[in-house]
Symmetry: C2
Subunit: 305 residues, 2 copies
């Protein structure tokens, strides 16, 4: 009764991991794992679709990497630790070389964060990959979008807009060689940074939908206004403010910190190579402003706009 | 910063549930829930694709129902209790009427099993729906495919093949009116039955890939041979043995029980309206046999055969 489907799963997706908390992994109807005591269960799901989230004929290793990275970035944004993943992969055909590269990209990133693939689904269909990541956070320590308060400072890691500029280069051979392709191909989810911000950040989000859209989510969820600092934004985005505000696909984290926690922030971020940069402050009110500039000129990506 | 995507999520997918173990639900980067103590975390993921798992223009309420049901059936097969779900929905366009029906189908079934939708993803793309269900099972009580032993009896719930016959009717208006469409449109996952079999069944699987394929999975995982009873199979399948063996899409459960547990089985199944029927026994050896019949004449569905 062995089938091609099972053979593919066995060969490319049933990999040993170092985790001893996986009780039943790939190969049964469902997986079981042991959650450490005192922890809340954290979960996130994301689908990436060829032609929507990455160009057709994108490197399959990069697809495998991104399918997991987008979820790890969600974990980063909660201050949560990823542990296990489920993968549902839909493919028009079973190309062994493609599957090998995809698997390498996926497990290369999974290994770096000690994430075990514990289950999945493989079907024939349009090229899409959906990953659910499961993990944990100490009870009550998850960092939501809703905790920002007037007086907090607003920080972002890395260089927002880099992924969008990298994608432009990937899809247009005549685009200026920006050296930024890797920010789209292999973005670094800020998992360790998110964990280090527990007890320091009052609100946090990743900016995968674009800095402006995601900052708007914090403003709305927290019931506050964000006042952006134009000079600081120009500096961290190397002058590419439209890409920074609207680009999307950056797996950087945007977070807010009260003044009284600035010493703790400095201590926590001392060894970081990805900033963070202070790009504004939280005020009473709602929405987003940048004095002297009209933010309506910018807009984020909306799948159904 | 409100977007169409967020508006759709708010309107159709952000529903209150009665569960007080959901700490952070729909609307943040990830969800957090509280797992009861003494429980292992159980997870399953499945994708359904238009034209592969259901016909084009299938009723959207049925799609929403099936997207969740296929995972609940995986939980049934482990003897696990579902609690939370994540939904990733890819759609070519945002049709409000379609979304309303899909949502009704999904939440109608979710409510029946007290499953809370805690997160998701909504993207523009080909029509596919991926659901991850999370839940729990008391430590050490999950029922895998690997525990069948020589001497065990083999049982199945319901009437295998009913879904395939129902699908044939749905896709061919000239097919005999079998009254079986609902077995494809709204299959009943056997969640309560699976839970009732904890401590009784030695191995269990759902037969969504077809009875023969899934029985083969138990035989291989357990290192045993399954000897089918032709007369018993003919009886529970109303003579439609090819549909029963190869049909797929049945959300019935196949399980094995040692003779010494038959009293417990009878007590546990006394109120069931879905059998179970005894269709064979476990023997030393490997593979599947049915005395007097060549099983090679039958084969299950393989996505990449």
């Amino acid at each position: 009764m062995a089938s091609k489907e099972n053979e593919i799963i066995r060969r490319y997706f049933n990999k040993e991991s170092d985790r001893d908390d996986v009780l039943i992994g790939v190969g049964d109807d469902a997986a079981t794992v042991r959650l450490p005591s005192g922890m809340e269960l954290v979960s996130a799901i994301d689908t990436i679709v060829e032609g929507v989230h990455f160009p057709a004929h994108f490197d399959p290793g990069d697809i495998g990497y991104r399918a997991l990275a987008v979820n790890l970035s969600d974990f980063a944004a909660m201050g949560a630790e990823p542990a296990w993943a489920l993968l549902s992969l839909s493919l028009p055909a079973a190309d062994e070389s493609w599957l090998g590269s995809f698997s390498d990209g996926f497990f290369g990133l999974a290994g770096r964060y000690n994430v075990a693939l514990i289950g999945g689904d493989l079907i024939r269909g349009p090229m899409t990959a959906t990953v659910t990541v499961l993990g944990h956070v100490p009870a009550g320590m998850a960092i939501t979008r809703a905790g920002a308060q007037a007086g907090d400072l607003v920080y972002v890691t890395g260089s927002p807009g880099a992924a969008a500029l990298g994608l432009a280069k990937l899809t247009n051979p005549n685009a200026q060689d920006s050296g930024l392709e890797q920010f789209f191909r292999r973005p670094q989810p800020r998992v360790q940074q998110g964990i280090a911000l527990r007890g320091i950040a009052t609100a946090m989000i990743d900016i995968s939908d674009g800095l402006l859209t995601d900052a708007g989510h914090i403003a709305m969820a927290s019931g506050v206004r964000i006042n952006f600092d134009y000079d600081a934004l120009m500096k961290i985005s190397r002058g590419e403010l439209t890409a920074a505000f609207c680009g999307g696909d950056d797996y950087e984290i945007l977070f807010t910190v009260p003044e009284k926690k600035l010493d703790a922030l400095n201590a926590a971020t001392a060894g970081w190579t990805c900033g963070p940069g202070c790009i504004g402050k939280i005020e009473p009110g709602q929405g987003l402003i940048m004095p002297g500039h009209d933010l309506a000129a910018y807009s984020g990506y909306d799948h159904f706009a």
